[in-house]
Symmetry: C2
Subunit: 90 residues, 2 copies
């Protein structure tokens, strides 16, 4: 029987999967096109630092889902950040 | 006295502020330049849906910090998404 708690945890799990793997198409597109002109370097720098903070927080809170989700997002966001730094025009 | 729990909650709060307001420079840049060529529409669509799911999850969990952080991120990510849809070349 599916109860309300299952549905709510399902929404949370869907949220984690969506906000994590959503970066994959962006990594692929940026990797292929090398087009980074539209990106804000400030945004991706602050966002990446923020994700590292979430990861540290998750480690201290011993939350496996926070550790997993933020580890994956950290990799994707750092790849995008490095591509922006590499291909941006000064 | 600052103890370990204060430091950890401080890291969590910093994480929330960084991953939320990091989008602001991107919104400003995209608003000004109308340059959306580099963005993955798939990424921002899935990410925005994911943030809505986090918000629903936060409402059911009665977590004020999740509700606040995800409400703000939702606004920023929907603005970026709408700008991408408006200015992208088919």
């Amino acid at each position: 029987m599916v109860n309300n708690i299952d549905i709510i945890e399902g929404v949370g799990l869907l949220a984690a999967v969506l906000t994590t793997y959503s970066f994959l198409p962006q990594v692929y597109k940026t990797w292929k096109t090398k087009d980074v002109s539209a990106f804000s370097l400030t945004t991706f720098t602050l966002f990446s630092i923020g994700i590292v903070c979430w990861l540290i927080y998750g480690i201290y809170k011993e939350s496996l889902s926070m550790i997993l989700a933020n580890s994956i997002t950290m990799v994707f966001s750092f790849v995008i950040l490095l591509l922006i730094i590499k291909y941006r025009k000064p």
